[in-house]
Amino acid sequence: MSFIKKSPWMFHYDGSSCNGCDIEVLACLMPMYDIERFGVINTGNPKHSDILLITGSINRQNEDVVKTLYGQMGNPKVVIAIGTCAASGGIFAECYNILGGVNTTIPVDLYVPGCAARPEAIIDGVIQALDILEEKQKQRKKGKVTK
């Protein structure tokens, strides 16, 4: 058993979201859903995190920020794109400054669809990401480089 599945620390970044998905991410931490049951902590620090949750699409201004944050996370790590905006740009896709979904900038491991994504769906996404994390951990131990 790998401990990474028992203690996935997350970190939330708001791209150009309308705040709908952000509220739902924060709702996961509230008493109603209490994602800490699974050992998830919202750290607010990329260096301490295993899971990067991105809500909203990527624009020209935050592109570098997202790359830096991703680079600062230690391996193994997963990226979850929350909501339609993070998947494809959503209703903002046509805007002059929007590059598109998160996958235009960094590799995404999991998409949680919805506008806004429901807290249940987000929690489900995080739990599914645990398997990916474990797989990446195994690959790392074998010496294979994973992104």
Binding site: L29, P31, G74
Partner: protein, 286 residues
Amino acid sequence: MNTVFYTTIGYILLAPFVGGLLMGLDRIVTARMQSRVGPPVLQPFYDVFKLFGKDKLTVNQFHNYYLVCFFIFILVSGSMFFAGNDLLMVIFAFIVADVLLILAAYSTNSPYSSIGAERELLQMLSAEPMILLSAVGLYMVTGSFKVSAIVSCEKPLIVYLPGVFLGLTYVLTIKLRKSPFDLSTSHHAHQELVKGITTEFAGPALAVIEIVHWYETILLLGMIYLFFAFNPVLGVVVVVFVYFLEVLVDNTNARIKWELMLKSAWMVTIIVGGGNLFVLYYVLRL
């Protein structure tokens, strides 16, 4: 000699278990106070084992060196305490350990960890006078700075030193970095400083800091126990109660500014701690 050896080994091996379990209970009690379910009780251990499996992201060459020294000094400080050595030595080794952590945080040059380090210095400035005063108080009553002599003292120390005990409980919140005194770093998701002093530590380095925190907690609770050493059962009950109080205070208070922390801590030190010593010296003529 042999007992010293065994208590030292005992502390080094057992303190992380007890400390980690205490943290796990702390997290569950905290969650219940916030009407959440909370993580499993072994969660702190899962966290630490996970962190050991992550990438080592060291900022510079001094970073890890300071951290290892920090770890060693906490071990030295705690082992000396539980081996019944000089309380003053324990306190100063503890201070040195804290300074090493601050140096490690400063060496990274990151603005967040530098501010965290500065705040940690302020926390030390607030808490240490009271801790030293407790050592003086314990000396005045028992006639020795040796922990072994203090523990085997027949007198009920709490009756002589109620003020010192209260003062020490007050600064315990600062030393454990719990709200309202979690200025330098916090286990909770206040994010104005990212993670303060621990921002730049990742993976195994963070795991070491977490383990040291367990050692630290056990050492500080050991100091609380000294006041009730005449009755071990009562001592353990009080220690558990004091820790519960810390969790309660942690969950019912917002973080305060450093000025207020410094003022209030020194006020408590002078009035309650100093007052207690004054009574001992001039009224009881110990």
